[in-house]
């Protein structure tokens, strides 16, 4: 028999059923060169199966669980805020519907508008349009900004 190849020796150590084990055993008994190669492979296999050095910190599993817990709490607090906001809006809506608070606030709003009228009129004149439309436009822009921020937060959570 010729010398054993690297493939033969690897198959032998892998216990590959395709290999004629008896023949390899016999050859290894009589051939110093192949036996040495085999021994080196055997050492290599032992080294590759060595588990030394694979160490994580002792509280690894606890840290992962604590990360999950924090994430959960964050999500809960977000939904809590959304629910609170909805509840708040709903309450205000009910209040406006069943009382005359809306009229009161509108009169306050109108009064304030009149107070800052000279300043806003200047801007309105520059824009050449109706002042009320200008104010509503600002309010709509702010509302869009808030909605956009909320959508961004939900998407990236």
């Amino acid at each position: 028999m010729n010398h054993l190849t690297d493939e033969d020796l690897q198959k032998y150590l892998d216990k590959d059923p395709e290999l004629n084990k008896t023949e390899v055993d016999r050859h290894l008994k009589n051939c110093d060169q192949c036996r040495q190669n085999y021994m080196v492979y055997k050492q290599l296999y032992a080294g590759l199966a060595d588990e030394t050095g694979f160490m994580l910190s002792a509280d690894f599993s606890e840290s992962v669980v604590s990360r999950i817990r924090k994430k959960r709490e964050k999500t809960y607090s977000f939904f809590e805020s959304v629910l609170l906001a909805i509840a708040g809006l709903f309450s205000v809506g009910i209040l406006f519907y069943f009382t005359n608070l809306g009229d009161v606030l509108l009169s306050v709003f109108k009064k304030n508008i009149q107070d800052i009228e000279p300043f806003l009129r200047g801007i309105g004149d520059v824009l050449g349009g109706n002042l009320t439309i200008f104010i509503f436009a600002i309010i709509i822009i702010i509302l869009f900004g808030v909605a956009d921020k909320l959508i961004f937060q939900i998407k990236h959570r």
Binding site: Q33, Q43, G47, A49, T52, L56, V65
Partner: protein, 202 residues
């Protein structure tokens, strides 16, 4: 496979203590893969944490159609590959050049050729591997591209079959066998070179 179902169900019902048990059960597998694939020691533990967070987030998608350990290995493998791609690390490499270099190094550094040296120097006890050789092996192993290191780890540390390794890495079985053979031959040559060198120094 069904033994794992109750634990998984507990986790899906929000039981974090069950997930802690799950981590302790599969920590060894994830650590082996991450530690062999990621060479930067300071990033390893965080990557292991990320792997388990991904497992937690995707556990509901696991349908018990494969082994849970294979599914975990796939997540670990993909997490490490993403990390390595970001770091532009070497994933694949043709080992032929290194194989040739290794052969010629042995020839050049000896008074005679490799064949004549084989069988002439004593090897240490077969079960014991010296600290020096172990360290050398660690260095050589880490110099291999990540894919080779992964395959070696899954085969030698996790005792997985070629099929399972192929399923985890997405490589055909032939490639898995070929990578494994070439990496081991290269490492064996390095080891042989080391033993010959030690004897030559004496």
């Amino acid at each position: 496979m069904d033994q794992e179902r109750p634990l998984v169900e507990k986790i899906l019902n929000g039981d974090l203590q069950a997930f802690q048990q799950f981590i302790e059960k599969y920590q060894r597998l994830v650590t082996h893969m991450v530690f062999r694939m990621i060479l930067n020691e300071s990033d390893r533990e965080e990557i292991c944490q990320d792997v388990f967070l991904k497992i937690y987030q995707n556990l509901a998608k696991f349908q018990f159609q494969s082994k849970l350990s294979t599914w975990i290995s796939k997540i670990t493998y993909n997490t490490c590959i993403n990390y390595l791609q970001k770091k532009k690390a070497l994933l694949y490499d043709d080992l032929t050049i290194r194989e040739n270099e290794s052969d010629s190094a042995v020839f050049d550094s000896r008074p005679s050729n490799l064949d004549s040296l084989k069988g002439e120097f004593p090897l240490p006890d077969e079960s014991a591997i010296s600290q020096e050789v172990s360290e050398m092996l660690y260095v050589e192993l880490n110099s291999l591209p990540a894919q080779y290191r992964t395959i070696i780890t899954l085969y030698h540390l996790e005792n997985l079959s070629y099929d399972e390794i192929g399923e985890i890495t997405g490589m055909p079985m032939g490639t898995v066998k070929n990578y494994l053979f070439r990496a081991r031959k290269l490492l064996k040559d390095k080891l042989l070179e080391k033993y010959a060198e030690q004897e030559f120094v004496k």
